[in-house]
Symmetry: C2
Subunit: 450 residues, 2 copies
C-alpha cells in the first residue's frame, strides 16, 4: 500500500477507527512504513490518534513520533506517562532521541532519561545533549560499528554481531587503535571477501575523511556532498572516534538551508510554516513590512522636495512604479546569481573585481536594450523630454541596482551573514529609494536646464 492509496482510503480508515475495527486496521497498518502514517495522524483528533498508536508496536510508534513536527509530538506525548515516553525514546537512534528530548523542559528531560532502561543509550543521549544543533556533534549518532586494527576477520564478524544490534544500516566499519583513535575504515564488502584469518591491518583503508565534533553543520554537509559520502565519522579534539553522521541528517541541513534562503529572500524574519498560528505568522512578517514602510515614507519625504516639479509635470508621477520596479527586479536578479555562485565556491574563483566588471557589462547591455524600448514607447504618448528623463533614469537605475545587487551579498558573506538576505526586502527598499533619487534628480536637472 502506498501513500497515495492511503490518502484515498482515509475515509474508510477513519470509519474503522471510530468503530474500533481492530482486525481491518491491523491488516492495513501491517503494510505501512512508519513514514506512511503521517498524513493519517495529521488528519485525526487526539483520541483517535491515541487509539491508532495503541494498535502499533513500540518501535513503530517511536518512529512515527520522531517524524512528527514538535507541536503535534507534544500533543501526543500528553497521552503517555514518562515511563512510556522513555520506552519509545529507547527505540530510536541516539541522535533522534537527543533531538526529541531537547524539546522538553530540563526537569522532564532528566526524568525521562533516568527512566530509559538501556543505560548505555541514556549515557549516549546525555553526551549528545551537550552539543549545539548546528555542529557535527549535534548531528551525529553514537551508534556505529568499530573494529580494532589488530583484530582478524573472524573476531571482527563476532563484534559486528554484538555491535549491530542497534545499527540497522551498516556500510563501513571504522578502524580504531588501542586508544580508540580513528585510524581508517574497512568496507563490509572487503570483510565478506576476505578469509577468516586476515587481519584488519592488512585490508583496512587508512585514507579516511572525518570531521570534529565542533565542525559547522553546513561544512559537514558540504564535505559529504563534495565527496559523495553516505556516512562520515566524527572525532573529538584528541582524534578519538565519538560518532557518525549519515547522509539523511545532512540532507535535512541542505533542505533547511534552502528554506532559510527562501525566507531571507522573501522577507520572513523567523522560521515559520504555513500551519503555525496566525499571530506567529504575523510576527514573522511584520518586521520586514515595517522596514519597507519606513523606506516608502522616506521616499515620500524625499519626493516632497520636488512637489513643484510634479505640479508642473504631473505625468512624471506615472513612471515612478516603472523606475522602482525595474531597480528592484535588476537588484534581485544580480544578488541571486551571486548567492548561487557563493554556494558553490569550489568551482569558481573568487575574484571580486572581475565579478563587478562583468556585472557592469551585463547591466550596460540590459540597460541599453530597456532604455531604447522604453524611450520608443513613452514618446508615443508623452513629450520627448519626459521620455528622455525616464529612459536616462532607467539606465542609471539599472547600473546602480546591478552594482548594489552584486556587492551587497559579497559584503554580507564576508561578515558571515546569509547573503540571500541581499535579495530580500531590505535591498529592494534601498533600490526603491535609489531609483526615486536618480529619477527626480535627472528630472530636476533636465527641466531646470531648459
Amino acid at each position: 500500500m502506498s501513500y497515495e492509496n492511503l490518502v484515498e482510503d482515509l475515509p474508510y480508515i477513519k470509519e474503522a477507527i471510530n468503530n474500533k475495527n481492530e482486525g481491518y486496521l491491523k491488516n492495513i497498518f501491517d503494510d505501512l512504513y512508519s513514514e506512511d502514517f503521517l498524513p493519517l495522524i495529521y488528519d485525526l483528533d487526539s483520541t483517535q490518534i491515541s487509539y491508532v498508536l495503541s494498535l502499533l508496536d513500540d518501535e513503530t510508534v517511536a518512529r512515527i513520533i520522531s517524524n512528527l513536527d514538535e507541536d503535534t509530538r507534544h500533543q501526543i506525548f500528553k497521552f503517555f506517562n514518562k515511563h512510556q515516553i522513555a520506552k519509545f525514546i529507547n527505540e530510536l537512534y541516539s541522535d533522534d532521541a537527543a533531538d526529541i528530548l531537547n524539546t522538553f523542559p530540563v526537569k522532564d528531560r532528566e526524568e525521562i532519561i533516568s527512566l530509559i532502561e538501556d543505560k548505555e543509550m541514556a549515557m549516549h543521549i546525555n553526551e549528545l545533549l551537550r552539543y549545539d544543533n548546528d555542529c557535527a556533534g549535534g548531528l551525529m549518532a553514537k551508534e556505529l560499528v568499530k573494529a580494532n586494527v589488530s583484530w582478524n576477520i573472524k573476531q571482527t564478524i563476532e563484534e559486528i554481531r554484538l555491535q549491530t544490534e542497534n545499527v540497522e544500516k551498516l556500510y563501513t566499519i571504522y578502524v580504531v587503535n588501542d586508544d580508540d583513535m580513528l585510524v581508517g575504515r574497512v568496507s563490509l564488502k572487503k570483510i565478506i571477501l576476505s578469509s577468516d584469518n586476515t587481519k584488519i591491518e592488512e585490508i583496512y583503508e587508512p585514507d579516511i575523511l572525518s570531521v570534529e565534533t565542533h565542525t559547522d553543520a553546513q561544512e559537514v554537509a558540504d564535505i559529504m556532498q563534495k565527496y559523495d559520502l553516505e556516512t562520515i565519522p566524527v572525532v573529538n579534539m584528541y582524534g578519538k572516534l565519538v560518532g557518525r553522521i549519515t547522509v539523511d541528517d545532512v540532507m535535512d541541513v541542505v533542505k533547511q538551508q534552502a528554506v532559510v534562503d527562501m525566507h531571507a529572500m522573501s522577507g520572513i524574519s523567523t522560521h515559520v510554516e504555513e500551519d503555525d498560528t496566525v499571530w506567529k505568522l504575523c510576527k514573522a512578517r511584520l518586521p520586514w513590512l515595517i522596514i519597507g514602510i519606513f523606506g516608502g515614507l522616506l521616499g515620500a519625504f524625499f519626493m516632497g522636495f520636488f512637489e513643484q516639479n510634479l505640479a508642473i509635470v504631473p505625468a512624471m508621477a506615472f513612471f515612478i512604479p516603472l523606475i522602482t520596479a525595474t531597480g528592484g527586479n535588476v537588484g534581485v536578479q544580480s544578488s541571486s546569481l551571486i548567492v548561487q555562485s557563493l554556494a558553490q565556491t569550489d568551482t569558481y574563483d573568487t575574484n571580486h573585481a572581475k565579478r563587478l566588471v562583468k556585472a557592469l557589462l551585463v547591466a550596460i547591455v540590459n540597460g541599453l536594450v530597456i532604455c531604447g524600448l522604453v524611450f520608443v514607447f513613452v514618446i508615443l504618448f508623452q513629450p520627448i523630454k519626459l521620455a528622455l528623463v525616464v529612459s536616462l533614469a532607467l539606465f542609471f537605475v539599472i547600473l546602480l541596482a546591478s552594482f548594489m545587487g552584486t556587492i551587497t551579498p559579497l559584503i554580507l558573506d564576508r561578515f558571515g551573514i546569509n547573503p540571500a538576505l541581499a535579495s530580500g526586502p531590505f535591498i529592494t527598499t534601498a533600490n526603491d529609494l535609489l531609483g526615486i533619487a536618480v529619477y527626480f534628480s535627472i528630472a530636476g536637472l533636465l527641466y531646470n536646464l531648459s
Copy 2:
C-alpha cells in the same frame, strides 16, 4: 591535505607545473581525492591542465573530468583522441558515463561508445542514453549486485566477488527470481551474520521500495528522502530489475530544484551561472525585465486617467512607491510560505479554503498594524485626507496582495507549473498594477466625494 591547504599552496603548485617538477607534484597529488583537483583545474590554462592530467592515472582523470562543468570538460577533451576518451569513460559508473556522452554530437558519441573496451559497459551506456534526464531511468546506474532467491550464502558471496568489481559502494544486495524480477533485498550485514548454507530465501526481506524507469526524478528524490533510503532499485514495466539510484544522484536533483526555485523567484528565465558569458546572462535576464517594463508602462498609461487629480494634489505621487513596494513585499511573503508548504505536502493537509481564510486573517492583522502606523506618520506632514487615502489603500492592497500571493502558487501547482514562479517578477508586476489601481480609485472616490 585538504582543499583549504591546496588553495593556499596554489602558487607553489603552479610554479612546479611550469617547471615540470614531477616529483614534487606527484607527491602532492597522491594525497588528493579527485574532487580536490577542481579548484586547481579551474585556475590553470589548457597546456598546464594537460600536463597535470598526464601525471595522473586513468581513473583519477576520469573522475576529475566527470566532476567538471560541461564547457571546461569539452575544453579538456580536445587534448585527447577518441580512444583515450573511451578509456576514461570506461572508468566511470555507467550513469556518469551516459551523462557525459549525452553532451557529445551523436556521431562522436557513437564512435566513442564503439571504442569502449568493456562491451557490457558499452551496452549499459546505450541503454541509459535512451532515458530522459528527468526520470528514474536517466538517474540510475546499471552497476548493482543481485542474487537469485534460490542461492545460498556461499554462492552469493562468490557472486559478490564477481559482480562487485565495478561496485565500489555496496550496501544492499537485490534479490531476484529466475525471471530477473525484483522480489526483495538482503543486507550485507545479514549475509555476514549467516552461515554458508543458509538460503537467501530464508533471510531476504521481501518488503522493498522500488521505482519504475519512467518515474519522475523529483518523485524519486521525494521517496528516497521520505524513507531515508541510500539506494533505490529501478524496475522496468514488467518488474524486471534494471538499475539502481544512489542518494548522491538524488541530492543533485534536490539542489538543482533549489536553484530552479531561486531563479524562478528572482526572474532569471534560463539556467545560468555567474561564470557564463555576458551575452548568455543578458539573454536570461532580459525577458522578465521586459515583462516588468511593460507592466510599468501599463501602470503609467492607467495613471494617465488621473492626471487631473495629480495636478491638484501632487503629493499623491509621493506615496506610489510605498503602495507598490508593500504590495510586492506582502505578495512575495505569502507565496513563499505556500511554496514552502507545497514542497512538504505529506505533513500538511491541503484544504485550500482553510488556507485562504488563514491568509486573510494574517493580512487583516498586518494590514491594521501597518495602516495605523502609516496614518500616524503621514498626518505629521500631509493633510488628513491624503493620510486617509494612503492608509485605506494600503489596507486593501495588503489584503489583495495576500490573496494573490496565496492563490497564484496554488493555481500554478495545479497546472504542473513550478509554484516558485509566483514569487517572481510576474506576480510582483501584477501586484504593482493592482496597487496603483486601488490607490488611485480610492483617491478618486474620496477627493470627488468632497
